[in-house]
Amino acid sequence: MIKVEHLNKSFDGVQVLKDINVVYEPGKCNMIIGASGSGKTVLLKNLIGLFKPDSGEICYGEQRLSTMDYASQKELRKNIGVLFQGSALFDFATVIENVMFPMEFFTDWSFAQRKERARYCLEKVNVIGSDDKYPNELSGGMQKRVGIARAIALNPSFLFCDEPNSGLDPYTSIVIDHLISDLTKEFNMTTIVNTHDMNSILEIGDKIGFIHNGSMLWQGDKNTILHPDCVQLKEFLCANTLARNIIEGKN
């Protein structure tokens, strides 16, 4: 479980996150939604420790991120998988080497064991027969899948996905969404997905938090989001024709 309490963050005097309070539970796909520039990525980067909050607390279970020393943070990070927006696969490594990379650093497994685990992760995300390809030889969807395989390589308790569907076609987006959702339930991970893709929200949003101008204005799930009591969320949703028709009760 990840608990965020009174989180504030500003850059050059501009407050980007304002008093964020939210709890992310394990075994659920927790979505952070909002328009571009609303503060989603900043929140995600605060959660994973790439940015330091101005004030407030982020707790991983019983551990407070702000009071952790470098060694404890490093230990925690072994338990975190991150899928970056651009996949962030290492150019110098092949598909299988990318997935084996975290294992090489943090396990004492033999090469054969690492390879077996990497193959297992790649099978989970349906990437088969591309072990020796380099990232630039893969399609965007394949890169995302390999990114997910790398993120779950060490069997983490926490999975963060920054806009996993950006640049993907609708079909591949659905495949990636279900992959994230299935892996979350199978491994009981606390998954946090940063997105503004309506399909993803409605498909896998077990818990949804809407951010507007740095404030979390609404929290709910995929069943309640189409009947929101928040004006800003309604405006955000109505940008999507399908959602607008449902909200406005049109056929």
Partner: protein, 231 residues
């Protein structure tokens, strides 16, 4: 973070070999070509400036050797390598920075600076002097080829000259300079790449900045070391 003890020595040595191949072995060809031509040109220029019949022709070989070992094989090669190795390191690390690959490493708990930068710095600093020795040998060879082909001076005089009054300290001095310059090239380029921002333009800027800064620093340190050690 760069000079922190590596998480796993096995990974460090593997990266050391990879970087040695990428930065040092791949530079052999350009160093070899430049050195052979440099040696040849030095022979012709020295000979054309020493036409006094009183001065023994042997001194042409002697002067070529001293010029090569004192300045050309270390400083000039370092300036060339600042372009080749510096841009390679800076653009590689810079593009990893802007495509979030370094963030991904940090998020895994991997010391990204230690993994990416340290093997490059150690490989270039330790093996750079070998390029200097190669350059020196091939420079002398280039001079010998020109002497042999043009008979601008007798070959025997050239060979006697390059063996005349050899001072081993000069070789150490030149190797030390090369090692220091290679350290500067890799660390400055890595620093600029690691903190690159602003997309592909930012990577280009960091690459250019590292070459300019390194070149100026090489010339400054060349002057300082020469003043301290040789005068």
């Amino acid at each position: 973070m760069v000079f922190k003890k590596p998480e796993k020595w096995r990974i460090f040595w593997r990266q050391f070999i990879v970087e040695s191949d990428k930065l040092i072995i791949s530079s052999i060809l350009i160093v070899a070509v430049i050195s052979v031509f440099l040696g040849g040109v030095l022979v012709i220029q020295t000979a054309s400036n020493l036409e006094n019949p009183v001065i023994d022709k042997m001194y042409i070989g002697y002067m070529v050797r001293e010029s090569l070992i004192l300045e050309f094989c270390s400083t000039m090669m370092a300036l060339i390598l600042a372009g080749k190795m510096g841009s390679n390191i800076s653009s590689e690390i810079g593009s990893m920075r802007i495509s979030e690959q370094i963030d991904a490493m940090d998020m895994m708990g991997v010391n990204s600076a230690g993994f990416l930068v340290l093997p490059k710095v150690i490989a270039t600093t330790v093996l750079g002097p070998l390029l200097m020795l190669l350059s020196f040998s091939l420079g002398l060879l280039g001079g010998w080829i020109v002497v042999d082909l043009t008979q601008i001076i007798p070959t025997a005089s050239y060979v006697t000259g390059i063996k005349y009054c050899y001072n081993g300290f000069y070789a150490f001095y030149s190797a030390f300079k090369m090692s220091l310059f290679c350290f500067m090239i890799s660390s400055i380029a890595a620093f600029n790449g690691y903190y690159a921002s602003g997309g592909s333009l930012g990577v280009g800027r960091s690459s250019t900045r590292s070459i300019v800064v390194t070149s100026i620093l090489i010339l400054m340190f060349d002057l300082i070391i020469t003043q301290l050690w040789l005068y």
